[in-house]
């Protein structure tokens, strides 16, 4: 894969490569954050000095279906020893799927001093770089976050309905089977199920992982991303775009690619996604 600076991204500074991370392992102004789907990965070994941000425990409200509030986000940042000036660098499993999800939640609180390690855990491991089971502990900070911004990069169901009715672009990043309504939930686990299969009218199907190179989890070049989202699906940088999946995590990967790699100014992630939409009474569904 070519160097990040040569891939034609709109905001290349948001990505760092594994060597950059290796060079900043002892940089007090950098905090490495591992976020995974598989909660056993971090305790089984991680990049030295990295802390874990667990999407279920740290990013979600523990009672309501929502993200942590300002107070709990401040507590999280204090616990991992981050100030407003610290550069946070996310990485994780599954082509950085959960890393971009954590990145997105951090942006709800305006922590713009944030980057993603291209290729994530997989690339770091494949390169045979150092891993440890030592869990670091940092001096707690006093972190003051602004109130959570639910307008700029987050979309709610009522907004999605208006958006769809107005014919504005939506990107459905789930699998083609989910898009076509052939699969609604996993067998034996109906709690995560939805009552209707299909997609939001007008949505284009672009499975999220198409933005990444399967062999090492790095992001595709801007030209390759444009071929997928613009030439194939007809999106334009001037579009107002909403991405969604089942609960808003896979779609944060696409939100990241459109916002930072292609530089689209108006992209929102609908975190209610299909588990909300497909259970809603009377909403239009397309198959």
């Amino acid at each position: 894969m070519s160097a990040i600076a040569e891939r034609g991204y709109a905001k290349p500074d948001v990505l760092v490569d594994t060597q950059w991370v290796a060079d900043h392992l002892n940089d007090p102004n950098v905090r490495l954050i591992e976020s995974n789907e598989d909660q056993l990965l971090y305790p089984s070994g991680h990049i030295p000095g990295a802390v874990q941000v667990d999407w279920a425990r740290d990013l979600n409200d523990q009672v309501r279906r929502d993200y942590v509030d300002q107070k709990n986000f401040e507590a999280l940042m204090a616990r991992i020893g981050v100030t407003r000036d610290t550069t946070v660098v996310f990485y994780g499993d599954k082509n950085n799927w959960w890393a971009t999800y954590a990145f997105w939640v951090f942006q709800l609180f305006g922590h713009t001093n944030a980057k993603v390690m291209d290729g994530g855990r997989l690339k770091w491991e494949k390169e045979g770089r150092e891993m440890t089971r030592d869990v670091p502990s940092y001096t707690p900070t006093k972190y003051e976050a602004p109130a959570r911004d639910d307008k700029t990069i987050r979309a709610f169901k009522e907004e999605v309905l208006k958006h769809s009715a107005a014919g504005k672009p939506l990107v459905d990043v789930r699998s083609p089977e989910e898009f076509r309504g052939e699969r609604t939930h996993m067998p034996d686990y109906p709690q995560e199920g939805v009552l209707r299969g299909g997609h939001i009218p007008g949505a284009k199907s672009v499975p999220w992982a198409r933005a990444a190179n399967p062999e090492d989890g790095t992001f595709k070049t801007a030209a390759e991303l444009k071929e997928i989202y613009e030439e194939e699906q007809g999106l334009k940088a001037s579009d107002d775009v909403i991405s969604y999946c089942r609960i808003g995590e896979r779609s944060s990967h696409t939100w990241f690619a459109l916002t930072y790699l292609l530089g689209y100014p108006t992209v929102r992630n609908y975190d209610g996604s299909w588990t909300e939409y497909g259970n809603s009474v009377g909403v239009p569904v397309e198959k």
């Binding site: 909660q39 305790p43 067998p187 686990y189």
Partner: protein
């Protein structure tokens, strides 16, 4: 919490997990992953046959079954994805708690045990894969029981 259908060693493990917090749960599961032993050469070698592959598992897991003289079965596993820590942990748990157990009980093992061990927030993809591994084991137990009844 209500009891789940599973052979006694697995039921006991599920009960033990009820008293640990999330961090301890993860540590215990990593210990299981560390104990994981891949299928021995005498049972299978690469390239592994597709019939032993777990279809829904992103960790690229395989399951083998060996009939024992005492009428029970021994279960073997391979996990090809190096990031498949949960799959390795679950394989080690299944070997420890299902191998050698009465087939009637193995066959009826409730997939709910996976969520009791790994936590209810287990993601859809991960849950599917782990349940797929269990399916191979319970199906093998059912087939053997069925064959015994037929015979």
């Amino acid at each position: 919490m209500s009891e789940v259908n599973a052979p006694a060693p697995l039921r006991r493990l599920v009960e033990d997990f009820e008293f640990v917090d999330r961090a301890e749960r993860m540590e215990l599961l990593v210990e299981y992953a560390d104990k994981f032993e891949e299928v021995p050469e005498r049972i299978a070698h690469r390239p592994f046959p597709r019939e032993n592959h777990v279809v829904r598992c992103e960790s690229d897991a395989y399951v083998w079954v060996e009939d024992r003289e005492d009428g029970t079965q021994k279960y073997y596993f391979a996990v090809e994805n190096p990031q498949g820590v949960s799959a390795r942990a679950w394989a080690a748990v299944m070997d420890e708690t299902l191998s050698g157990q009465p087939l009637e009980e193995v066959a009826k093992t409730d997939p709910e045990v996976i969520f009791r061990l790994f936590g209810k927030e287990l993601s859809m993809g991960k849950g599917q894969g782990l349940m797929g591994m269990l399916d191979h084991v319970t199906s093998a137990a059912r087939r053997k029981l069925h064959a015994a009844h037929e015979g």
